[in-house]
């Protein structure tokens, strides 16, 4: 994905993250808080499991027939006066959006939080490549903070969670948002409101993401707490809504179960402050809201994920962030280490599929397969199943040719497992290998991995006599 700064390898990032005590503390606080709030919210909901199943069902229904639902959606949206655009990949989406802005003589753009627009690298494209050359201003507080800082988000729900208030105050002073940085959170927020209000007032084009789109009616739904998405979709005369093709739901009534699931899963709220359900632009010129509503439908690798049942389920994701908060690996290393717009467990499975980056091949392996993510996913994506599937695809080189790990380390691992397998399927070779390993250990040569193990833990030595040897001499 083009939407972020160049990253070093996952391993280096993860190690750096573990050593960053500020980040580590912030991550633990954030994930504990969100997970705790989620827990409280769903404990109060005895039908939680039934709701998850319902949501899984609805998503399976729409994905199994996605072409039909896409056609329905675009017909309804266009009948309501929206312009629907189709983008095969991120670059095409950026070109389309830049074109829409250009056609509207839109020089000033504001945008609300949208991971899809980060996926396609919209801000950088607009700043560098578009003829107007003006970068859209992020208006979600966390996103604006990291835009000012030139960074990328570290968490789906709370993008600036890795920054202390003092760091933010310094940043605001540096970027002339405030004259003095006091680190008072209310004052910082008030300063942000003042500055961004000017941007809202002057913006020609508002760009938003889409949380859910309804095929039956051509409606897009944007949910939020801050009010910036309402600003972006009400004040400017042009609204561009950017969505992955998987965001569809079949019917308007289907919104009910997702509105119950998403806020609780993400932050424990029973509902966020605002939901805007938009079905085309206003009908009369003296109404409120934009004159033009555009919807950009983005593929960028999603259609390929439809092919197999095991990968299709990952398109059900509603971007709640619950899996991040539950993941014991994410809790330690945060979002930046993943080098992707989509971090954590869901990121580890969709990034290799969407981005095809060589670096992304590591992500499915950076997991202990504990399954906590599967437990919390509101749409019941079986992430461990996907991780195992991707691991197998990557190691065998099928299906993800660009991700096949051809390094020397990977080759020797392949040989090692072949040897292991040959040994383990014969009791005789197994016993011989164990005897060898026991001997080598006695002279200080450990099995592969012993060194890495010992860096932090004592390694249990081979028993002097194996269980089977002791069993045999018991005369049984």
């Amino acid at each position: 994905m083009s939407g972020h700064l160049p990253m070093e390898t996952f391993d280096a990032n993860a190690r750096a993250a573990l050593l960053d005590r500020t980040l580590n503390g912030a991550l633990k606080r954030a994930t504990d808080r969100f997970a705790g709030q989620r827990r409280a919210a769903i404990d109060a909901m005895p039908e939680w499991e039934a709701m998850r199943e319902r949501a899984r069902e609805i998503k399976a229904e729409v994905l199994a027939d996605l072409d039909r639902y896409l056609e329905d959606f675009s017909a309804k949206a266009e009948a309501a006066g929206a312009r629907v655009h189709w983008a095969r990949d991120g670059d095409e989406a950026c070109r389309l959006i830049a074109g829409i802005a250009r056609d509207a003589n839109g020089r000033r753009l504001v945008k609300s939080k949208s991971m899809t627009t980060e996926e396609i690298g919209l801000n950088r494209y607009m700043a560098e490549a578009a003829r107007n050359g003006e970068e859209p201003v992020e208006t979600d507080l966390g996103e604006w903070i990291i835009q000012l800082a030139g960074e990328v988000p570290s968490h789906i729900i709370a993008p600036a969670i890795h920054k202390t208030k003092e760091q933010i105050a310094d940043l605001f002073v540096e970027k002339l948002v405030v004259e003095e940085g006091t680190g008072d959170i209310e004052a910082l927020t008030a300063a942000a409101r003042r500055v961004l209000r000017r941007h809202f007032a002057e913006a020609d084009v508002g760009i938003s993401g889409v949380n859910f789109a309804v095929a039956e009616t051509g409606t897009v739904l944007v949910l939020e707490n801050e009010g910036n998405a309402r600003m972006c979709t009400t004040l400017p005369s042009v609204h561009v809504a950017v969505m992955g093709i998987e965001k569809l739901l079949p019917r308007f009534a289907d919104l009910e179960v997702f509105l119950r699931l998403l806020p609780r899963s993400g932050t424990g709220q029973h509902l966020t402050s605002y939901q805007s359900l938009i079905t085309g632009p206003k009908r009369s010129p003296d109404g409120e809201g934009p004159d033009e509503v555009h919807v950009v439908l983005l593929d960028n690798g999603r259609s390929a994920m439809l092919r197999e049942r095991v990968t299709r389920q990952s398109l059900a994701c509603i971007r709640c962030g619950a899996c991040l908060n539950a993941c014991p690996v994410y809790q330690q290393i945060g979002g930046h280490a993943y080098g992707s717009v989509y971090p954590g467990p869901i990121g580890a499975v969709i990034t290799p599929q969407l981005a095809g980056l060589e670096k992304a091949a590591k992500l499915p392996f950076a997991s202990s397969l504990c399954g906590a993510c599967r437990d919390v996913c509101p749409v019941k994506i079986d992430i461990p199943e996907l991780l195992l599937h991707l691991r197998s695809e990557i190691k065998s080189g099928k299906g993800l040719p660009h991700a096949r790990d051809v390094s020397a380390g990977a080759r020797s691992e392949r040989i090692a497992f072949r040897l292991w397998s040959w040994t383990m399927r014969s009791p005789l070779r197994y016993r011989a290998a164990a005897a060898c390993a026991r001997l080598l250990a006695r002279i200080g040569i450990g099995i592969p991995g012993a060194g890495a193990w010992r860096a932090g833990r004592e390694l249990r030595p081979f028993a002097r006599r194996s269980f089977r040897s002791r069993w045999e001499s018991r005369g049984r």
């Binding site: 391993d11 993860a14 190690r15 573990l18 014991p328 690996v329 809790q331 330690q332 290393i333 392996f365 950076a366 202990s368 397969l369 504990c370 399954g371 906590a372 599967r374 437990d375 195992l388 691991r391 197998s392 695809e393 990557i394 190691k395 065998s396 691992e413 392949r414 497992f417 292991w420 397998s421 040959w422 383990m424 399927r425 014969s426 009791p427 197994y430 164990a434 390993a437 026991r438 592969p448 991995g449 890495a452 193990w453 860096a455 932090g456 833990r457 004592e458 390694l459 249990r460 030595p461 081979f462 028993a463 006599r465 194996s466 269980f467 089977r468 002791r470 069993w471 045999e472 049984r476």
Partner: protein
């Protein structure tokens, strides 16, 4: 009843006492324990690492060894859970059927004691405070939660203390523990943070791999508690 003991490669080579304790416990519960010396491994390490062809060969050997056996008992939630993944490794429907059949006849120790044998009194005794670690595969794939606690509750002299983080992953995860050792250790440290506050004599689990991870870290950091397998506690007199 007759049960066939699959001790797991890890227990066989590194922790035979767990195997012996498992056999003791099953005998005390009235079973005749058989041990088929042809056994090796369930294939989990290769499967988890993405090497399915290699895992398949080892899984096939497992199926061959236990063909026709009524009950296989395993002192490991993750190895018992692995039998449920074996079917998907095979293309041939007959092999898949064999695998599904084996999975239905393979039981984690705690599950077997409670659900098949009705949690008989084992005459177990352990004087001390212990806390239970819910190993991930046993917990989430086999649904084991109440069973070990019930068994521990019947051990004379044992005081069971619940950890808030009992369900959090110890960080082993197979090759993950050596591919990402820093993250793995950070995970076990997070888990062990509350151990000192709980003041327990032992942390007990049903998976030797978790105990290697937890015990290995405790040995390095000098934590007071021991890492013990459920079988060892239940075999105690």
């Amino acid at each position: 009843m007759r049960v066939s003991l699959f001790v797991t490669c890890l227990v066989d080579q590194l922790w035979p006492a767990v195997g012996e304790a498992t056999a003791d416990v099953l005998e005390r519960a009235g079973c005749e324990v058989l041990f088929d010396a042809r056994q090796t491994c369930c294939g989990q390490p290769a499967y988890n690492a993405g090497h399915r062809v290699e895992a398949r060969a080892v899984a096939r050997h497992f199926l061959d060894v236990y063909e026709g056996v009524d009950a296989i008992v395993v002192p490991s939630g993750s190895c018992a859970a692995m039998t449920h993944h074996m079917a998907e490794l095979f293309e041939d429907e007959r092999d898949r059927e064999r695998a599904r059949s084996i999975a239905a006849r393979t039981h984690d120790l705690a599950s077997f004691l409670v659900h098949t044998l009705g949690a008989p009194d084992l005459g177990a005794r352990f004087d001390g405070r212990v806390t239970w670690h819910d190993a991930c595969h046993g917990l989430r794939e086999l649904g084991l939660r109440a069973e070990p606690r019930r068994l521990l509750a019947s051990v004379r002299g044992l005081e069971l203390v619940e950890a808030q983080r009992s369900e959090s992953c110890c960080g082993f995860g197979g090759t993950f523990s050596v591919k990402y050792p820093e993250i793995s250790v950070a995970m076990v440290d997070r888990k062990l943070e509350e151990l000192a506050e709980l003041g327990v004599d032992a942390i007990v689990s049903g998976d030797a791999s978790c105990l290697m991870q937890i015990g290995g870290r405790l040995a390095r950091t000098g934590g007071g508690a021991r890492a013990m397998h459920l079988a060892e506690v239940l075999a105690g007199r």
